[in-house]
Symmetry: D2
Subunit: 347 residues, 4 copies
């Protein structure tokens, strides 16, 4: 069986990256792509790197005859298109934020729009594959996580699930510019972003409630206090998250022995994960460039008793299109790594 | 049949990139890697992006039990290792410059060393696949071309073979920094190379004689006068070559019609090539990032009667490791594109 | 005496850079700045790096009470504003292209607009300081050159004025992205321009006629055939131009002696120039970063008989705002280097 | 009076930057520079951007006839050279770490060498100008701070001096590559550092004890628990520090009013500082590029009750050479801003 795939809004970076990955997928075939601004053109004339992918880009957001639709539309528009696809019988992976938050009020307060389909929120599965593999496999609608939450939650999950840390969590993230998408704005103008670093979203970034929601689900006992500060750095792809927490108690003693226990915990927790690499050295985003891998490095600060976890990933692959394909594979009973076994490009 | 492959000096960028590509190759298996400075370590501990490639790095340059050896040693040392491998019955693809120049005197005057095996020069085939496909297929020893000559010659070949241009050729090339390899030097120090561009090799770059040798072979009638000026620009991968020539005569009239004839010539010449893309717009190196493609864009300057040909490629793939695998595929009767069908990573 | 200065359209990179340089000028005072999109704000709130420059940005393009107006408006609008300032008695330095071309038909064919004041074209002086110092000193209206022509013409002038070269000129220029200004477009989006190089303007860049006009003026005997190909490279500031010409005759023999004669020619020609540096090594744009210097490096290709001249400059300083201030200094009888003696920032 | 200045080890980035700044200083004259590897050459031939600075580089580390010596040698060698200069009657500003830590045991445990002159530690003044202005003015030996401590301490000082925060301090710093100096190593190789971000020094960075020492001096009552994690990001100059603390008590309530109080505190504290800018928006390193300014932005996370302070500076100017000149100005009774009033270069 070949899964017939459609991409709604192929002209942004996430949509484009989905097309690239699907080109190498043995069990899926891209059969339709949409994109208003480039409607009527061939995919490979808009994106010359997609050599010989000659699909015409269609204008309307609706897809016919696909088994699965990926939506890479902006929020709200995405929910509308996803619902249409669901109603036509397709499965859906939504790259936008529309189905990530379970609480419609929280969604509406963060995104300042009315949710077009709150009745789907309960059914939707948060698509952080390593945390919700089983539910994803049987899902009809997957809400693909944000790039920042993916890096943050994969660094926190082993500690949170084992209830090893206290409620104070600081996530200091450094992202390449492609995370901001392909839309023009002054802060992503080359001359402004080059040779520059800045923090943003200090009043509250929209990826914060996703992180908190998942932490609460993993450990309901903690009154999580999450500070999340993203930074824009002068590179195209990659996110490095530096996470600061404190042990909840003496199960993780601040000592060489505690450090070993910490490393073993992560190794054990992720030992069967195809896309998780618990590293021996501090990881670099370049080691995940173009791949679906997340690198995780837990380390103790023996002086202060803090635990730091550093994670890296490619925001367009594991942080968006790659994880979406990983979820599709599960939803259709395909091998989870199909189409995704590309090693990183280094240097 | 699975081809057993060895890489001599895996620790530079070309060697490392060979390992990465071979990981995805269905008909070849990497069985041995050498590298003096990292001897004894596992490949994936030296290069964490080569996830789960646990081959031990061996110290000596000799390989046993391989069907083909790739050598990524510096010149002279490379020839010595290649000859050893040939004598043990392996086929050889040499990434170094040692077997590229047919004239041993020219080699010795450019490289300032005595050639360790001039008797192999006649047998060696210059591995620019698109120009020497047939000879490569039956070769025992292939001299993989330099990254600059690959971009220059693929831009010139259709014009030269058809004897359409005069002898004056200017090649102004812009290269990413990885072309200079992994060896430390001040000019590739980040703080020096970042936000900077400079020309180098103005007294004569070692890739020049390769270019001239191949032009002479394609059109023996012209007294080729090639000026080649490489420039270092602040990016990691990619070469863009801007080539300036003049038509030999009125077969390529300077007119809109001539422009069409020029484009058609290139399209026709490269129509069956899996890794050549004659583009409709000026190409960008980013559109070949990580892929084995060469983009070629021929264009007339109607004001002055010049022809410009712009080519782009990834210096580590088509400019080194990718073309080496392409040649290996031919040498072993495998599909030419095996292991090399990766689309470029954009953005 | 303090010169009272106004900047029309301070919100682009050239206007902003004028403000920065004027802040350090001992004999000039910035008294008014305009900028439609930011009207009403203080200069230092729009550009925090202009610390304590609290001038309010005014909306209309007209300036009152200034001795000199710099216009950094887009073409056509700039001419209109310049004429208004002239009519109010101010001197004018126009950063736009409106008064650079002497032939109004040529202007209108390249810029596709009707010129608002062709009667001023004869009076306007082309402000490449080193070529027209005397006329600039007595000018009322100076047309500040384009960034590319500045680099190209300073590399060619000694050869052209001495009639030492033939008519075939190739200028292969590599520019940082700030040359494209602050206006948003996809080709200057960080994720598109980063790790990328491309040629543009292949059908004819608007800076070409400026270059040809000046060459014709320096040597009327040659039928100049200029090919100019600009490239966008991933850095913010700087232009490196690689110029390819051939000697007209045996006065510049192709030999070590000829090379010496060539270097001496440039040294002698520029020996009293405060902002010209004839270098002993191939120059790097980084060595002019933030300064008003142009580096020039003439070199022979002994194999082919070509002469290459490589020049570097900061496109926002010598290529725009710096040269404009240099011209202002001359127009008001101030020391030419006043406000401009900043060394480059390296690394 | 003109201060006669010498630079010991001018060939690194800090030494070179001192020379650049001194070139524009009205009351100081650079009279001698040393540098072993380039001994005998002229300063402007080694660094072409230092146009017409023809001082010969001398080999030995000793300077004669200077009023003040700046040492930019590596640690230990620097102390030795500084002591020699002191003994000859010069004042000294040491860019190295040798006289920063008051406790010789702490120095020796972090730097793994024997201190060559522990008897000078008491006399030495820690040269963070804004914290120790008075002592610096009368000092004979100033220990110029590290680049990271400068950014961290200027962000913390108002809060610490007023005893407004608790003992838990996290400093997540992002630095350009020039902070690592001009010495070659793989982590600063362009192809490795470009398009990459990584944390380092996780086992304890040498700038940590400086930070702790100064915090203890400002507020002796707190058991400071400082976690400091530096990151290398792909740009040449600039450090952005994101500092996370918690209020000590209700004097800084977590509310809009508290936010105002926080901003006012910083404004008031730094109101007479020429090189401190308390910004209204999150600062960007680019806004301090090439200048001696530090930008400081304090902000509350109303959700979690944390305070973040973000600071930016140019690591080679305020983080090294600029602050050293600022200290020299104080030591010789010159205007503190002399030679240092350059605005930042943006973009």
């Amino acid at each position: 069986m070949t899964v017939k795939v459609g991409i709604i809004n192929v002209t942004g970076y996430a949509g484009m990256e989905l097309a690239r990955i699907l080109r190498h997928h043995l069990d899926a075939q891209l059969v339709a792509v949409t994109g208003r601004s480039m409607a009527g053109k061939r995919l490979d004339s808009v994106f010359p790197h997609l050599v010989k992918m000659g699909l015409p880009i269609i204008e309307k957001d609706e897809l016919e005859g696909v088994d699965v639709a990926f939506s890479a539309l902006p929020h709200k528009a995405s929910a509308e298109a996803c619902i249409q696809s669901l109603e036509k019988g397709a499965k859906v992976v939504d790259i936008s934020a529309d189905f990530r938050l379970k609480d419609v009020h929280e969604y509406e307060s963060w995104y300042k729009v009315t949710h077009p389909g709150p009745q789907y929120l309960e059914e939707a599965v948060y698509g952080l594959t390593e945390l919700h593999r089983r539910e994803i496999a049987s899902a009809r609608l997957v809400a693909n996580p944000g790039c920042y939450p993916t890096g943050a939650l994969l660094g926190l999950a082993p500690l949170v699930k084992e209830r090893l840390i206290g409620p104070d969590v600081i996530i200091d993230a450094k992202s390449g510019v492609s995370g901001a998408g392909r839309t023009l704005s002054l802060n992503v103008h080359f001359s402004e972003a080059d040779e520059n670093v800045s923090a943003y979203g200090l009043e509250g970034h929209r990826h914060l409630p996703e992180i908190t929601q998942e932490l609460r689900q993993m450990d309901t006992s903690q009154p999580w206090q999450v500070t999340f500060v993203p930074h824009l750095i002068p590179m195209t792809r990659g996110i490095l998250s530096t996470i600061y927490v404190k042990p909840a108690d003496s199960r993780l003693p601040i000592s060489a022995q505690g450090q070993k226990r910490l490393t073993d915990l992560f190794r054990d927790y992720y030992k069967n994960e195809p896309f998780l690499d618990v590293t021996q050295e501090p990881p670099q985003t370049k080691q995940t460039w173009g791949s679906n891998m997340t690198q995780v490095y837990p380390v103790m600060d023996l002086r202060t008793g803090r635990i730091m976890v550093i994670t890296t990933l490619d925001n367009l692959v594991k942080g968006a299109a790659g994880q979406a394909i990983q979820n599709m594979n599960l939803m259709f009973g395909l091998p989870e790594t199909e189409g995704l076994d590309t090693l990183a490009f280094y240097p």
